[in-house]
Symmetry: C2
Subunit: 290 residues, 2 copies
């Protein structure tokens, strides 16, 4: 039934960057819904998306794009998603599903609670991405085999959840229902903390090198991989850290404790303690990735 | 002239793991020297290395292997290198060059200072490796285009440096002369600190997940890359951290400062300060890797 609804649905994708452009492309190329309308700030992006057949129609007007849509996907930066969630309600038709692809879920779903009752909100977070952002690198295969978190609100109807699960499967991804609080705590651990540690690593290495640029010439695969995410987009990562502040702070404190424990073992010549910390990390890493 | 010496030289490689096995293989396959003798604890390793034509002859006896050698390369774990440097002197013929492939240089070159005067010591650190260790993954191409640090002692003759530079080039690597103290400080920043941060990341994420194993299912490429080196060999990494303790401790303190600075920005809602830390790291990462 939900597949039937989806097959005829008009889907508006607001924001045609990597995530939005790829979602539109997957929906259009797989004929997963009736019509994909793209909403972007620039006419150039719309032309490009139309030329690549990522969207069936496009507009720079939010009101025009979301009016009449059955499903609206907000795929802009988190601060912009928050602003649109607060203002888009009156533009949506009764029963319209409003979702998003933001990397944190608590702040966004809290804002969604305030939507007028005729709107059907549900949070979303596709766990995929690329090094670089923008429509030029959008790819209809981006979502394939990836986990796509859906965070229903207490007010979200079961039918809405089922329709969104169908949409997620239609773009090749695996839906995972997750409460916003648990989502934000877990992604703080496995995504936001790695970013913070990569930033700390590069800045600490810079301080240690102390102007000796030979350091960077000596850097091999260990530094390259450990620091990779520090090259992430500043706006996106700033939004993520500030909208998941409590959990990120908890993670930073845990990491500081771990660094202090390593330092203590070295200072006290505690070879056994050092090996225990190293062994625990190695075992978990091998369990997760083999 | 040094190439001429090398062409006729008898080279003993002590320890046929990934580094020693690959070095022997590169020397033998490129006909870079007159004879490669492998020294290993197990007869099985020697058979395997002989079968793969990595060595011309092999022995489980250190005295037999290094006696008569023109160049001896110690390619065992750092603690074993340190022990052998302290005891191998009387087994070496006059003028024999003694070098190593250990990942830290200060402790090893300090021990080399105590060698009898008839020995020509020089530290070495090829900046290459693999995820996994052992002769089975040894590869004659491992050294190709990699930086190979040479750390002469004050007592090291210029001719010894020239011969080792010729050997490094003969296996396809690029020699880089580097004082042991500067080497250890720089590799603490770009190799040992990344390892410590990866260990801290995995253990901190474990504490944050608090038994919720969904965390590991959500882990994507960010966590995978940032934590990769935490799977490193425990003996090797333990040796590295303890023989480079001062610089690693300095790095851990720098990293703790950086994490505290990130936490302070989040606690004080200092968006500009946060962006400045993130921007500095992003700029350096992009400068190093593009």
């Amino acid at each position: 039934m939900e597949e039937g609804f989806l097959a005829g649905a008009r889907v508006a994708v607001v924001g045609l960057g990597l995530m939005g452009g790829s979602l539109a492309a997957a929906l259009a190329s797989r004929r997963a819904c009736g019509h994909v309308v793209g909403v972007a700030r620039s006419a150039g992006s719309l032309e490009m998306a139309l030329g690549m057949r990522f969207i069936h129609s496009g507009t720079t007007s939010l009101a025009e794009g979301v009016g009449g849509a059955d499903i609206v996907v907000l795929a802009t930066p988190i601060t912009d998603i928050l602003e649109k969630v607060r203002t888009v309600g009156p533009l949506l038709k009764p029963g319209c599903i409003l979702t998003d692809v933001g990397s944190t879920k608590r702040a966004i779903t809290q804002a969604m609670e305030e939507l007028p009752p005729h709107v059907e909100p549900i949070g979303g977070h596709p766990m995929c991405g690329k090094e670089t952002s923008g429509l030029a690198v959008a790819d209809q295969a981006l979502y394939r085999d990836q986990t796509y978190v859906l965070s229903p609100l207490p007010r979200t109807a079961e039918r809405t959840v089922a329709i969104m699960e169908a949409l997620v499967r239609a773009v090749g991804a695996r839906p995972l229902l997750l409460d916003p609080e648990r989502h934000d705590r877990l992604v703080a651990a496995i995504s936001h903390l790695p970013y913070a540690l990569a930033v700390a690593l590069v800045n600490a290495a810079e301080a240690m090198a102390d102007g000796d640029d030979l350091a960077w010439r000596l850097a091999a695969s260990g530094f390259r991989d450990t620091s990779r995410v520090a090259a992430g987009d500043l706006t996106m990562m700033g939004d993520i850290l500030t909208t998941n502040r409590d959990h990120v702070l908890a993670g930073l404190h845990r990491a500081q404790e771990q660094l202090a424990a390593l330092a203590r073992c070295l200072e006290e010549d505690d070879a056994e303690g050092l090996q225990a910390l190293m062994r625990a990390a190695r075992r978990r890493r091998l369990e997760v990735y083999g």
